[in-house]
Symmetry: C2
Subunit: 561 residues, 2 copies
């Protein structure tokens, strides 16, 4: 199927409920899903993803491409955010101008969304509505209910959508944590009641669908951290995801129980602690010791919380490891706890960090050594619990790479549900029984380049790779009216190592080579900028490859005066 | 300590045995070690390492920097290669011209070294001597014995060095595999005899020093592979390290036992199979089915061996996954086995490959699912066995990142040895009791750029990062004798996305901006190329940051006619 560039161009059947994932299916990150009925649409989550080794250089933040929605206009009636993780709310500031619909979420999530909209200078344009957990609201033909679930951040919600005679549960991100420590219990009674009332479709989290068992509880993690920290005699430094309020609460409690006081290093931890407190969490979190007062506190009483659990070079943890943090120098016999998972792709960066710490005789504890982290996503037994509770006719896995979605679909089928695996851009009719892909809608990725969002396929972004791999050679020749060289050819090199020859000698060789090319060029070539450029490029590419085995990008400029 | 740029400048004591690691200590890769006595030196291993995310773009192969040895001349009397892995022999073709000493190794290793020297056009210059396993040779004051060990490649040897009244065992890479399937058993009797005779120092492999237990046997791996492959009904494709001859032998045997025939895809597998056979290995390896005959063979009888177990984009496995291999298209219900570890840093690349295969409904089996790989390096129980056998006074961990070397040192200390952890460039006296670092010698890394070796600190290589992150903007102005602009400023952009503005509009804006700068510049600025360049750069940097939040590298050329 050829994708429709505009959702508006796809043939839509009235009285049919459509589901359209535009981000997060076939990937973990940038969740962006749409539901439509009688040409009224709601968006669920507007997330970002981060660059990896396939991303063009210079791009760090990636958003879904919303351009297929540009003709929707006011038919997009609401944007609902299920919870405050970056892959669900992170793009709200970047994409809202293309979506322009009111935003709905619960308080904690709203605080985070508000910060992002503020950073984008949009606060006065966006209607941001705070919904209560468990609340039910109408949006055009949609009746939507927020259902509390547990996750690794407060206030993660499933949405139950009732529309066109169907009941659809969009799970968002979840786990079944019997002891979440912060926030409410997952609403198992409501989930079972929905199952009894009849659920047509569940669209849900596939992250851990290949992992057996249960994801574990924040209580296990509290116990593991207490065990590690209570054995330490010197300074302990813990890094975890800043948004994991339960983890922060555990660390607050452990600080009290082990006679330590907490110091926070890193902006995002301060932000999330403030956001949590403003929304009624972290009520018993101890008063902080400011970094500048650490010198007055014995090391055995210090518990440092640092940002940067993924080894981000500019975050507190990496700066501490490099000995470059302005407030604190870690010392031998200190202990650093990574209370976090290793996000795939960050392994080598983190191993380097562990190594740097260990070279300073600092003990490193990761989830490989002790129970200092639990995942926030449902493992297979939790998925099984959910499908036994909801008894859906059909499961559509999202929020996962392909293998996670396939494992999720197979599990659902074993439990007696039908299953449909989808990709970003699949326009799925949920009214059809079973649901099926009716059309393809254009989907893609935009990269944040400076302050612009640029398609990742942009030619200029890919040109950067060529510049990166081989550097670049600039040749400028000035020709007079008779196509005779004026002065010397100008040669400049950027990012081209000159090897044993040396920079000046290489420039001289290239200057001489260009002069020779011009001297031997026919008048036909000399009179055509294109032909001359092409000849210089070809000859120099050949020479450089022969001399040094390199192929820099070339910029040949012919200036005629 | 400030490092000596030349080993020859360090104060050396006569009758003292020195050890100098110049690669492989504090890292896994590019092993390069020196031993010296009365100013006669031998090098042990000359390996490469591969680029990671910290390497400047465009560099794939990295070697140790041998420049601190350049004054050694004929005092470097031998290069000994312990085994044929890339991190031990891979740099021989690149660094031999800087070392110029005869090379000694056993047959299989010599075949690989010969290929590398041939590729570098050095075969007629290098004296390559084949040594027998268990042989003893004299090199100046050194008596050196080759001691057979098991590893993941045939003919991995420890070296026992007797010199200056000391006995030093340099382990190379090893494990204790009771059933190595190919090649000889490790020489436990000789190791125990050496222990009884008295070993002063062991310098050895730290790779798995953090891993409890034993590394396992190739026989376990054979059984695991047989178990997986015998359950498959359709095509099976296995990828593993090409140099793991035992693994290839197992697969040959499994092919026969499961009624399959083997087809090889990928040049390095062909090379290593040929090398193995030429040295007496793989004697029972079945005859191959050429790729072009695969169509005549039922899928249930196909066993494909493919290169690219680390997800290398140009190797057979990745091309098969992408459906771009010219000889074979993998289909649903085929099975792909990764009979290899995931080298840290390759996780994301491999996960993508698994995902691509799973999206085609191809079953993926990795060491996480079945015993289809065993490590080639000693785990803690094997290290314990070795130190109980050799009973050394001192252990110096090498071949590991810092945390591996620290764990190795701690284990050795628990076993009653003294231990010294070193870094590349540490000049260690082994005669001192206990050994100690006497001086620092310059060490570093060279990157292969085209056909030149360039220090990784080369300014041009780092310039590539800036080009990659922001692209580049070239501005050329031609001025007449009175510093008046001739024609229009020439603006060229490479790797700069123009965002919503569009490329031509951005060029026009920049042209106009440069004209304005020139129009308003003082005659002092106009008369100085440097001042004019600096002013244009500053103003355009400011404008681009304001307009688009970007900071491309700038190349400003002022041409006067």
């Amino acid at each position: 199927m050829k994708p429709f560039a505009n959702l508006g161009d796809a043939p839509l059947t009235p009285e049919t409920l459509y589901f359209l994932p535009l981000g997060g299916s076939g990937e973990i990150g940038m969740n962006f899903n749409l539901y439509g009925f009688n040409d009224q649409w709601i968006a669920v989550d507007v997330g970002i993803t981060f660059a990896d080794d396939t991303t063009p250089p210079g791009i760090e933040v990636i958003t879904p491409d919303p351009s297929s929605l540009k003709t929707l206009g006011e038919r997009l009636i609401a944007i609902i955010i299920t919870h405050a993780h970056e892959d669900h709310v992170g793009a709200i500031g970047y994409l809202w101008p293309a979506l322009k619909a009111p935003v709905y979420c619960t308080g904690f999530t709203a605080s985070v969304a508000e910060r992002k909209l503020g950073e984008a200078g949009l606060l006065d344009q966006v209607a941001l509505h705070r919904v209560l957990p468990g609340e039910r609201r109408s949006f055009g033909p949609f009746e939507i209910e927020w259902i509390a679930l547990t996750h690794s951040i407060p206030e993660s919600h499933a949405l139950c959508l009732e529309v066109g005679g169907l009941r659809v549960v969009h799970t968002g991100d979840w786990k079944l944590d019997p002891n979440p420590l912060e926030g409410v219990h997952y609403d198992d009674r409501r989930l079972m009641a929905l199952g009894d009332a009849g659920v047509d479709v569940v669209i849900g989290d596939s992250t851990n669908a290949t992992v057996d068992g249960w994801s574990g509880s924040e209580l296990d993690c509290y116990r593991g951290l207490l065990d590690v920290i209570s054995q330490e005699q010197q300074r302990v430094c813990v890094t975890c995801f800043s948004s994991n309020t339960a983890r922060l609460a555990s660390l607050g409690r452990i600080a009290r129980e082990t006679g330590r006081r907490i110091t926070i290093l890193g902006r995002s931890l301060f932000q999330y602690v403030a956001t949590a407190k403003a929304n009624g969490y972290l009520r018993e979190f101890p008063e902080l010791v400011p970094p500048e007062d650490l010198d007055y506190l014995p090391k055995s009483e210090q518990l440092i919380l640092a940002t940067g659990s993924q080894g981000e070079a500019r975050a507190a943890m990496a700066r501490l490891a490099r000995g470059e943090h302005h407030s604190l120098v870690l010392e031998a016999d200190d202990c650093v706890v990574f209370s976090s998972k290793v996000i795939p792709g960050n392994e080598k960066k983190l191993f380097r960090l562990y190594d740097l710490l260990s070279s300073k005789r600092i003990r490193v504890v990761t989830e490989a050594e002790a129970c200092v982290h639990v995942s926030g996503h449902p493992c297979r037994d939790e998925l099984t619990w959910m499908y036994r509770a909801l008894q859906p006719n059909t499961v559509i896995p999202v929020h996962g790479e392909h293998r996670h979605m396939v494992a999720h679909a197979e599990l659902a089928q074993q439990l007696g549900c039908s299953a449909l695996t989808v990709q970003n851009g699949d326009l799925v009719s949920l009214t059809t029984s079973p649901p099926r892909v009716e059309a393809k809608i254009a989907s893609g990725r935009l990269g944040l380049s400076g302050t612009s969002l640029v398609p990742l396929t942009d030619r200029a972004l890919n040109e950067r790779r060529a510049l990166a791999l081989g550097g670049m050679l600039s040749i400028t020749v000035v020709l007079d009216k008779k196509s005779r060289l004026v002065g010397q050819p100008q040669i400049e090199l950027m990012g081209v190592p000159s090897g044993e020859l040396g920079g000046e000698a290489l420039k001289a060789e290239l200057t001489f080579a260009v002069e020779e090319i011009l001297a031997e060029a026919s008048s036909r070539v000399l009179q055509s900028d294109d032909a001359l450029r092409e000849m210089i490029q070809r000859e120099l590419a050949h020479s450089l490859h022969q001399w040094m085995g390199i192929r820099p990008r070339q910029l040949v400029q012919v200036i005629r005066i």
